[in-house]
């Protein structure tokens, strides 16, 4: 019982508490405590030291163990940095948003944990919709026109997307008509066990609806637009949270239905759809990265790119699947660093336009160096983790039945890398034409420390490659019926 209390109920209670307590410091302290407890328990569960008993509709397996740890990790760092972020808001009208910031943050944690831990499609749906509801007020934090538009679009698009996913879930029940699980509850393991009995037509329809619907939340093209708008206009810690964990919460829904389809005759169909989704995401980013002049939007597109790679890895299976799971871990941490750095730049330059940001390395040397390192990390330069996970995905693709797609992926990624590099280096080095080079000293802030810790973690996890992580990921692959 303690599992559900710490992971879901406690954040929910603290969320209520935050609406009663007005003092921001107390809200922060309690939220940090919740985040720490959540992280510790997720870590203990991940290491296999504890196996908490969860009530009906919830369960723990290798897949959600990993994703829960990713969520706790991202959430902990975001909460840690939140107080100092709220002290120095970028825009004056953010004052009103502060009041309910921690309330929704805790609600976000509860909803995401519930979605990840659910082992029932209905429960997953309710919790996934709740994650949208928790994040929408946070997107509107800055209270300006862009934030309002982003919030409306995100709320509307994702609500419709999730409604589509619900149709998919209903079709899944239709696929079970006439089998022994007809009229049974929508538990994942029941469906996985009896997958071969299900009606393939309804199963395919169900996959289309769930995949397309949840794509609005994952940010897989062509349903990515609401997500990109929201990520680029939300405050940086929230953007980090969305890129690092919220997208994965939606992805787990797609992975569950994919797991059901794997042993059936509809498998090839679902696999093709995943690959198309992944390739299309990379293509869209490839096109837009030439046009984008807003660095937070660029990072949002980078999230679309990396989620596209993960989807591609899942679709290809085998070694690419292993790579995709590693990629989910590394991408989440790198995105936190990137968005926190972008937040620092936004605060100092008061603009999200690349053209207004110049000579970051001179004016904000610490932020500049971290941005440079984070850019190298996200582009897959060794020794950062993403290098190793991408190599695995590519290797899996190369030895699959569609190796030619790898050439296309490489082509897209090369241009994405070059254009992202161009934007980042313009921000870092270029001086304005009429100005003398400025130099500035920058104070060491909490966000810098967090970024450095995360960058070190990225290298250490990648180089040391802990057995427990590999073991867990191969267990996931095993659950999906893959031979390695």
């Amino acid at each position: 019982m303690y599992g559900i209390i710490i992971l879901i109920l406690f954040p929910l209670v603290v969320s209520g508490l935050c609406s009663l307590v007005k003092d921001l410091r107390i809200q922060y302290a309690v939220s940090l405590l919740v985040a720490l407890l959540h992280l510790s328990l997720s870590l203990v569960i991940f290491l296999g030291l504890l196996q908490p008993q969860l009530p009906t509709f919830f369960g723990i397996d290798s897949l959600n163990k990993l994703f829960l740890l990713i969520l706790s990790n991202v959430y902990f760092w975001v909460v840690l940095v939140s107080y100092s972020y709220l002290q120095k808001p970028v825009m004056p009208n953010a004052e009103k948003g502060k009041k309910n910031y921690f309330l929704f943050l805790n609600f976000y944690l509860a909803a995401n944990s519930a979605a990840l831990l659910s082992n029932h499609f209905g429960m997953f749906w309710v919790a996934a919709e709740a994650t949208t509801l928790s994040v929408v007020p946070l997107i509107y934090f800055y209270r300006n026109e862009e934030a309002l538009e982003a919030m409306w679009k995100y709320l509307f698009l994702v609500s419709i997307g999730i409604a589509f996913a619900f149709i998919g879930i209903l079709m899944l029940t239709l696929s079970a008509k006439g089998t022994i699980i007809e009229g049974e509850q929508l538990f994942y393991d029941e469906y996985i066990r009896n997958a071969n009995l299900l009606n393939p037509i309804w199963l395919k329809a169900s996959f289309i609806f769930i995949f397309v619907g949840l794509s609005t939340k994952i940010g897989v093209a062509p349903m990515h637009s609401g997500d990109v708008d929201a990520t680029s206009n939300a405050p940086s810690p929230i953007a980090a949270l969305m890129s690092g964990s919220l997208r994965l919460t939606a992805l787990i829904g797609v992975m569950r239905i994919y797991q059901i389809l794997r042993p059936t005759s509809s498998f090839e169909f679902s696999r093709t759809l995943l690959i198309i989704g992944g390739m299309l995401s990379l293509f869209i980013v490839f096109v837009y990265i030439f046009k984008v002049r807003n660095y937070k939007r660029m990072l949002a597109y980078s999230s679309v790119e990396h989620l596209g790679l993960i989807t591609l890895g899942i679709g290809f299976g085998g070694l690419a699947f292993i790579g995709a799971m590693y990629h989910a871990v590394y991408n989440s941490m790198t995105k936190v660093v990137l968005f926190l750095t972008a937040g620092n730049i936004h605060r100092n330059y008061k603009s999200r336009e690349v053209d207004n940001v110049r000579a970051v390395l001179n004016i904000l040397p610490k932020t500049g160096w971290i941005l440079l390192l984070a850019f190298l990390a996200i582009s897959g330069i060794p020794p950062f983790g993403i290098f190793f996970s991408e190599i695995k995905i590519y290797e899996g693709m190369l030895f699959s039945d569609k190796p030619y797609l790898l050439a296309l992926v490489m082509f897209f990624l090369l241009f994405i890398f070059v254009n992202m590099g161009k934007i980042i280096f313009t921000m870092l080095y270029k001086n304005s034409a009429d100005e003398q080079p400025q130099t500035g000293t920058e104070q060491f802030e909490l966000s810098h420390i967090i970024s450095i810790i995360l960058l070190i973690m990225l290298v250490v996890i990648a180089v040391a490659s802990p057995d427990i992580l590999y073991e867990n990921i191969s267990n996931i692959a095993h659950d999906f019926g893959m031979k390695l």
Binding site: G122, E149, F166, T173
Partner: protein
């Protein structure tokens, strides 16, 4: 009985396609909510259970009372004009709806040969989903988009009852609660949009693009 109610539900969709008044949409939402409540009450004719009554009562509360009242309040508060201009004419909209419905009904009857499903409720539910999407696509006013979203949700609900999915009641109520909060948040957002953009049409939302 289910079929009669589903056909009534379909008729409400035709009304939605030809009306150009915001209030009429809200009345349709109430009517659809009532149809769903009656549909959920049918099993009680044969067997009454106190526990089972919770779901119809919640649907009544959320879909018939709370949401329409809230939308009416938003309309009054924001002083939204009663009529809305479509981006395509009603004369095009109605045939589009009729053609889509025909296709859905035929497809459903073909599908029912392989799978046991109630064709009429199934197809009616799916038609409502499609009509909801059309409303969102072809209307400019944001409040009408919210109504379109709710018609879509009602369609999913009808669709859900037709496939006889056994969702546990706790989850059904969770779903209703989620929908209500979505509408509530949309109402708040509309309020902000009115004060920020001086209007609530989708054409005002064009700042974010590459």
């Amino acid at each position: 009985m289910e079929n009669v109610l589903s056909i009534l539900f379909c008729l409400s969709l035709f009304y939605v396609s030809i009306t150009s008044r915001v209030k009429a949409l809200v009345s349709v939402l109430i009517a659809q909510g009532l149809i769903l409540v009656v549909l959920l009450m049918i099993p009680f004719i044969y067997e009454f259970s106190v526990f089972g009554i919770i779901l119809p009562v919640t649907v009544l509360l959320v879909k018939v009372i709370l949401i329409p009242r809230y939308i009416n309040k938003v309309i009054l508060d924001l002083d939204i004009k009663r009529r809305f201009e479509p981006t395509i004419q009603q004369m095009v909209f109605l045939p589009l709806v009729i053609v889509s419905m025909t296709v859905i009904f035929i497809t459903a009857s073909i599908l029912s040969e392989n799978t046991a499903l109630d064709v009429i409720p199934f197809a009616s539910g799916f038609s409502a989903i499609i009509v909801g999407i059309y409303i969102i696509m072809f209307r400019k006013k944001l409040i009408v988009h919210v109504c379109g979203f709710l018609i879509l949700e009602n369609g999913i609900f009808l669709f859900g009852t037709s496939v006889a999915s056994d969702m546990p009641m706790m989850i059904e109520i969770g779903i209703l609660l989620d929908v209500f909060v979505v509408v509530f948040l949309m109402g708040i957002a509309l309020n902000k949009i009115k004060s920020t953009f001086e209007g609530f049409e989708v054409t005002h939302l064009g700042r974010l693009k590459d």
